[in-house]
């Protein structure tokens, strides 16, 4: 079969929708005490990851700047985070006089504790045998699991705004507002990029989404959503950086503008909790990206062919999941090592004027493609191709219109900014030097410009005397 005729089959085959949209993970053999054990395991996993990532980040950024990074404490400096933590514990815990005590204490607690919640619905691995029970390596799953992550992130924003407000100080207030605005506006684009995933998977349950991605696409390559939903993936990656307040989007902590942002007034372990929460958030969004776009705990392509996907079973999943998650963490660090902080208006413009509209258009396109694949536009292998072609035409037309518009704007801008060949340096009343390429209008001769001197000496002396008197 030639590639041309195979192509519509490839697309229209799509990935079959599940029978139900509920979780596929089976929790029937999981007693409550085992859930508690798994929660404890998850807690240890996340906290250990944070301990390692702080060291990892500093080491990698160090290498990116051609310096070794922390290397004093422990082999390769790996215990650096421990030292930092002890330092934070031993520091004086200051509460400002103006602070609203209750909220001031509650805010870091909200941030740190909510950061852990999202991990409950992330599948870290497949079915494993634990203390005589067979249970999925996932704390819990619901039919709306991914929405839970968004909701928790939204509630977490309370932590930032309360911290800023309760500090009773200007910079924290501004930082808290910024942080909240950032989280909320980027959550919209993030949600839209997730909608595309839901359209493909037909489910919001994380275990179901992961399961669907393990279906073969062709040549044994699993149908990870990063391929058909590449645009959503890119949008998600951008928004997850905005969501976690990380460089280049760490405007809430812009040292040059806001001091420390919302945590300016925090010290000791209260600050430590913000710190912890921020790093856990990094892991949460990375874990979600892994789950939704990179096939979750399943082994990557060539390895999934070994012995009927043996490497995705049981505890192996934890390895792949961790590796995939850490590749996102590396991306975070790489971004921080490469990019400067953007301006606040640029950041908001990117979110509201680019990411959200484009995501909307993309979601509609995905909707049409899915509808064609599911046979809503009629049967036949060419329906999907026709839909794709139609969308393509539409997009090309859109680009064409946009280009014309941009050109017209550029011309208008050029006219507005055009530099006249000759300038009068005193046109505005103040002397202005000529720009490169400009010529000065030669000023009139000083002799001609000066008023004729015809003042009698007597009047002058009289004047001065009067002024003195």
């Amino acid at each position: 079969m030639s590639l041309l005729t195979a192509y519509p089959d490839l697309i229209s085959a799509g990935l079959a929708l599940p029978a139900t949209d509920g979780p596929v993970a089976d929790f029937s053999d999981t007693p409550v005490w085992l859930s508690l054990v798994k929660a404890a395991f998850l807690f240890v996993y996340v906290v250990l990851s944070v301990v390692v990532v702080i060291w990892f980040e500093r080491r990698v950024i160090g290498r990116m700047q051609q310096r070794p990074g922390p290397n004093r404490f422990g082999p390769l400096g790996i215990l650096q985070t421990l030292a930092d933590g002890i330092k934070l514990f031993l520091k004086e815990d200051v509460t400002p006089k103006n602070a609203d005590k209750l909220m001031f204490i509650a805010a870091p607690l909200i941030v740190a504790s909510l950061a852990f919640v999202s991990f409950a619905i992330i599948p870290l691995g497949g079915e494993v045998s634990m203390f005589g029970h067979t249970t999925p390596l996932q704390l819990t799953d619901t039919p709306v699991a991914v929405l839970l992550v968004l909701a928790v992130a939204g509630v977490g924003a309370y932590g930032f705004v309360l911290a800023g407000w309760s500090s009773g100080s200007t910079y924290p207030l501004l930082g808290g507002l910024r942080s909240t605005a950032q989280v909320i506006s980027y959550e919209i684009a993030m949600g839209l990029s997730l909608v595309a995933v839901f359209l493909y998977s037909g489910s919001m349950s994380t275990s179901q989404i992961v399961e669907l991605q393990s279906q073969e696409w062709f040549l044994g390559i699993p149908g990870w959503y990063v391929v058909p939903l590449f645009f959503s993936f890119v949008v998600y990656v951008i928004t997850m950086v905005g969501e976690t307040n990380r460089l280049p989007f760490d405007l809430a902590e812009g040292e040059g503008e806001l001091g420390g942002g919302f945590h300016t007034e925090y010290s000791s372990m209260k600050f430590g909790m913000f710190f912890l929460g921020e790093y856990i958030n990094m892991f949460t969004v990375s874990a979600l990206a892994t789950t939704l776009f990179l096939g979750g705990f399943h082994a990557p392509w060539p390895l999934n062919l070994i012995n009927d996907d043996m490497l995705s079973e049981g505890w192996w999943g934890l390895l792949w999941f961790t590796l995939k998650m850490w590749s996102f963490i590396f991306l975070f660090v790489w971004l921080r090592g490469s990019l400067p902080r953007v301006r606040y208006d640029q950041f908001m413009k990117l979110g509201w004027k680019i990411l959200i509209p484009l995501s909307l258009v993309w979601v509609i396109a995905v909707m049409l493609i899915r509808a064609a694949q599911e046979g809503y536009f009629g049967e036949g292998r060419w329906v999907t191709v026709a839909t794709l072609a139609l969308i393509g035409l539409f997009v090309i037309a859109g680009i064409f219109v946009w280009d014309r518009y941009a050109q017209r704007r550029a011309v208008a801008r050029e006219e507005r900014m055009a530099v006249p060949a000759e300038v009068d340096p005193f046109a505005g009343g103040y002397p202005v030097p000529p720009l490169p390429g400009q010529k000065l209008v030669e000023p009139r001769r000083a002799v001609e410009a000066a008023a004729p001197v015809a003042v009698s000496t007597s009047t002058t002396t009289h004047d001065t005397e009067e002024r003195r008197g």
């Binding site: 290498r63 051609q66 090592g337 490469s338 801008r413 900014m417 055009a418």
Partner: protein, 233 residues
């Protein structure tokens, strides 16, 4: 200006770059003349906006130039100006004659010298005088080396040692016993008389190459007398 009729894509390649405004307004088309740099390739143009990521990624695999100082010591240049040293003649007598020229030469006023006369009983250097007190204040010293240039007997030179730190100020005023060159195995500890048959100038002519037997006997006898006195006390 010629630039207005000749907008270039790569403003850096042009010696007379047009202003920022003109550059923004100029349509993007390849330079027809004047541009010195070759046009960047298709790929490098495509990835130009994210080239910074390549820079940081590639830097990760470069050699780190950091010197792990306290653990790994990097050798200094051979003529590095480090801590001073008061040298000795081959038989162990001090070269310093206490002339204070180093102290006079010092622009930072870091050196304090007190000379004293050599006596037949206690001779520390060949010739008439020796430096009884010799102090260098390393909180003041700027390691310019003018003292070394001033020294007429080559008594004062500099070593490559640069680890001169201490929590107290007093410890950083180095005394004579800290600055004196250590005795080599064949040297004798002053005071002791000059080599027999030699006078001061012979020392500087290099005719003394080590302690003579008479000098060794003298020092042995001196040490034995001191030990006896110690026991009787």
């Amino acid at each position: 200006m010629a630039d207005q009729t000749d907008p270039t894509v790569e403003p850096t390649g042009d010696a007379q770059a047009p202003s920022v405004r003109e550059r923004a307004a100029a349509p993007a088309r390849p330079a027809d003349s004047g541009s010195q740099k070759p046009e960047p390739g298709f790929l490098s143009q495509l990835f130009a906006p994210v080239a910074g990521f390549g820079v940081t990624f590639a830097t990760m695999f470069r050699k780190v130039p950091t010197q792990e100082y306290p653990e790994v010591k990097f050798p200094t240049a051979k003529r590095f100006h480090g801590r001073h040293q008061l040298n000795r003649h081959p038989d162990g007598l001090e070269k310093c004659v206490g002339c204070e020229l180093c102290a006079w030469a010092c622009p930072a006023d870091a050196i304090y010298v007190e000379g004293a006369d050599n006596t037949p009983e206690a001779r520390f250097s060949p010739g008439e005088r020796y430096g009884r007190v010799y102090q260098i204040n390393y909180l003041r010293c700027i390691f310019c080396g003018l003292c070394i240039e001033a020294c007429p007997t080559r008594a004062l030179t500099m070593t490559n040692e640069y680890e001169l730190t201490d929590p107290s100020r007093q410890a950083l005023i180095y005394e004579k016993h800290q600055l004196l060159a250590p005795l080599r195995p064949d040297m004798l500890a002053p005071p002791f008389p000059m080599a027999e048959g030699m006078e001061e100038r012979d020392y500087y002519r290099g005719q003394v190459t080590g302690p003579t037997q008479v000098q060794k006997d003298h020092v042995a006898e001196r040490d034995a007398a001191a030990a006896r006195e110690e026991v009787s006390r």
